[in-house]
């Protein structure tokens, strides 16, 4: 990427890589320069005179490979009132991410080489994380005609993930063609599984709660039937399929079955589907309106189990910023979506680590290594914590707790479903190729971060 390696050398004292035994880690020239037993590394060791060395006392903190989000809505171009590439990637850094995949449903749609290159360039200029644009599968997300997938793949943005997210590629022939076509450049179709006819006017999970509170139901079968069809299509044409934000127990079963058959499918779950249920709709607060909708406690348990046993490969945020007015209204008029970049790691810790269902190494797998692999960015992201590897790292204090307040989030939007909740864990530092984007739990607005290639501070949406 464009940013130059940091000129500062960081020495992380007493950190626990993947939650294991403490070590000292030295980050220098954009890579992990040394790893040694605590106290065995001198500050400034191997550095030339005049080098800036900063020590970080981080005893007990967990060191993870920088987090990678496969599903982020950055909203730019088109909805800069909700989020910009700058504000969204700054929020990503605050949440411990070093790379995000920017979803295609912008205005104009990311369905041409020109638009994906624009988003890619905005990401580079912002400098907070690596931004990998996702290309639309169909022109304008219209579901009728393939977008120029090859042109996006060949562009400077080197698109490998294609998705009409927000809309389902519901035409089976079109889906088949897309799955086949992207094989030429090792791409993947990330499907938003939602049968459109079964979900016309849908507002929330169809079940006991929707029946009582009178909101039009979004039935689980509308998701499951598309996933079932798509895994069979992927098997038939020998393609790679990724299932976005699966949310139901039935979806987990289908993906488990497909993997058992050797079908090349990967699946993601969002943090909110790991913890929240449709009961939250009872007060009609649209902050809980999301697509796919919050499901039942049984579904929450199923996605946790699926994530723990590897059926679900990754956690992806589906970070969906919205301006206040799009949430401060009647449920039926409100926008779908929740922010997630700054709470994802805490939710995974709370639901999976603190419950004993996953280790921190598993967290690295589902929030960094696997998403990097699916997005075909494993050359730079989701790397092992080892000497010589790029210094894309996240330092977490798992013992900390914090009260979530949407108004103080780094993202330009306030809509968090965790408002007022106490969540465990805190991102203490994030490093992008050795450069600190977050230090002492706060984003670092300074050289390299939020600056363009010419070194000038960008007119960003930092709040």
């Amino acid at each position: 990427m464009s940013s130059t390696p940091s000129s500062t050398t960081y020495v992380l004292r007493g950190v626990r890589p993947y939650g294991t035994d403490p070590v000292d880690v030295v980050l220098s020239d954009g890579v992990i320069a040394a790893i040694g037993a605590p106290g065995t590394i001198e500050a400034g060791e191997g550095q030339g005179a005049g080098a800036v060395v900063r020590e970080i006392q981080a005893e007990g903190h967990v060191l993870l490979p920088g987090l990678v989000d496969l599903h982020t809505h950055l909203r730019e171009p088109g909805r800069e009132d909700a989020e910009t590439v700058f504000s969204g990637t700054r929020a990503a850094a605050a949440g411990g991410f070093t790379a995000v995949h920017a979803m295609a449903n912008t205005t104009p749609t990311q369905d041409t080489a020109g638009v994906v290159e624009q988003v890619y360039r905005l990401g580079q200029e912002a400098g907070w994380v690596d931004v990998h644009p996702i290309g639309a599968v169909t022109v304008g997300l219209g579901g009728e005609k393939l977008a120029e997938l090859g042109a996006m793949a060949d562009s400077a943005a080197r698109v490998r993930v294609f998705s009409d997210d927000g809309k389902c590629v519901h035409d089976p022939v079109l889906m088949r063609r897309a799955l086949e076509y992207v094989k030429a450049f090792d791409g993947v179709v990330a499907q938003h599984a939602q049968e459109p006819r079964l979900t016309e006017g849908a507002q929330m999970n169809e079940g006991v709660v929707s029946a009582q509170i009178g909101l039009t139901g979004w039935p689980a079968v509308a998701e499951e039937s598309i996933i079932a069809r798509d895994v069979l299509l992927a098997e038939h044409v020998g393609s790679r399929l990724h299932v976005c934000h699966l949310s139901t127990a039935g979806s987990v079963e289908i993906v488990r079955w497909a993997k058992g058959r050797g079908i090349n499918v990967t699946a993601e779950v969002t943090p909110h589907h790991l913890v929240l249920t449709d009961d939250l709709a009872r007060d009609y607060d649209p902050v809980f309106k999301v697509n796919p909708p919050l499901r039942t406690a049984k579904d929450v348990e199923a996605v946790r189990e699926g994530l723990a046993d590897g059926t679900i490969d990754i956690v992806a945020t589906d970070h969906a910023p919205h301006p206040v007015e799009d949430k401060d209204c009647e449920w039926a008029s409100a926008a779908f979506g929740m922010t997630g970049l700054e709470t994802a790691l805490s939710v995974v810790q709370q639901t999976m680590v603190d419950t004993g269902r996953m280790t921190w190494a598993d967290v690295a797998r589902v929030l960094s290594e696997n998403p990097a692999r699916i997005g075909r960015i494993s050359a730079t992201q989701g790397r092992p914590i080892a000497v010589g590897e790029p210094a894309n790292l996240t330092l977490v204090d798992p013992a900390a707790t914090r009260a979530i307040d949407g108004r103080t989030q780094v993202t330009a939007s306030d809509n968090t479903p965790f408002q007022g909740m106490e969540l465990p864990g805190r991102v203490v530092a994030t490093f992008l190729r050795g450069r600190a984007t977050v230090l002492d739990g706060a984003v670092v607005d300074g050289p390299g971060n939020g600056t363009g290639a010419d070194g000038k501070t960008l007119e960003g949406a930092a709040r």
Partner: protein, 346 residues
Amino acid sequence: MKHLLTTQGLSKDDAILLLDTSAQMAATQSRENKKLPTLRGRTVVNLFYEDSTRTRISFETAAKRLSADVINFSAKGSSVSKGESLKDTALTLHAMGADAVVVRHSASGAAHQLAHAGWLDAGVLNAGDGMHQHPTQALLDAFTIRRHLVGNVGDDGRGPDSSVGADLAGLRIAIVGDVLHSRVARSNVYLLHTLGAEVTLVAPPTLVPVGVETWPCRVSYHLDETLEQWQPDAVMMLRVQRERMSGGSGAFFPSPMEYSRKFGFDARRLAVLPDHAIVMHPGPMNRGLEISAAAADHPRSVIVEQVANGVAVRMAALYLLLAGDDSTGSTSSNTGSTSTDERIAL
């Protein structure tokens, strides 16, 4: 009671208080001067985002009979049609000092949000929100059922009502038709159950919501079987909206004729019922579809009386919301020990 938003969770005591107060209100309505001074100086806003002639007029009449100032705010011809949000409208009503807001809205939950989103501190009376609830309709239905089947007011509904204080224990009520989209059905199921009645919903399976199993009622797909074998004391027909049949592959039933044959209420089906049974409909009716003219106009039909009772029930609801525990309004001269009855008789 600060708001009346839903019948789900309404206590039996509150429900009976509402019905008893309605009975007192109804009694005042046979006087020559129907107007009570109870809500003098109070402002009631009718905020109607959906067309509804009868419900709006019913609330307007109720508020005026209680001497409240009434402001009708309809979506047509107001800034709502220019895209003003519910929130901004609420803030406006708050600034204008509305004491109670009667709201009808196509979005489920709109009344709940008005009451709880912090936009407004007036009492909120739900006059129908989407597919969710229409509590005063259920109350007027329960009131009508109680007068006829417990209070024995006679076929003309004009006899003395001896049902004050009573619930609906043991009565069987069939609610027939488009349950899926019906706020009237949802409100009635919970209220009638709370009052001790047994409820059976009768509809084609396409018009029964997924998730109905937690509702305190039974579900049948067969009207004739329900009428013959269960022998309901009251049959409540729900309006079938014509657009529900014209959805092509999304239509909820094959044709109006088939619906009418299997779920329409007519004189033949009326004859199967016990002699005391009554026929109800919240209106407006599709004569010839869910109910035949012969059934709608039959002496056992209480449909017109439901409309009349609607005014008394809405007077009671407004009264209990605005004057129930009032210390500054027109009832302020009453001491805490004054009964509701005496206050209304002012």
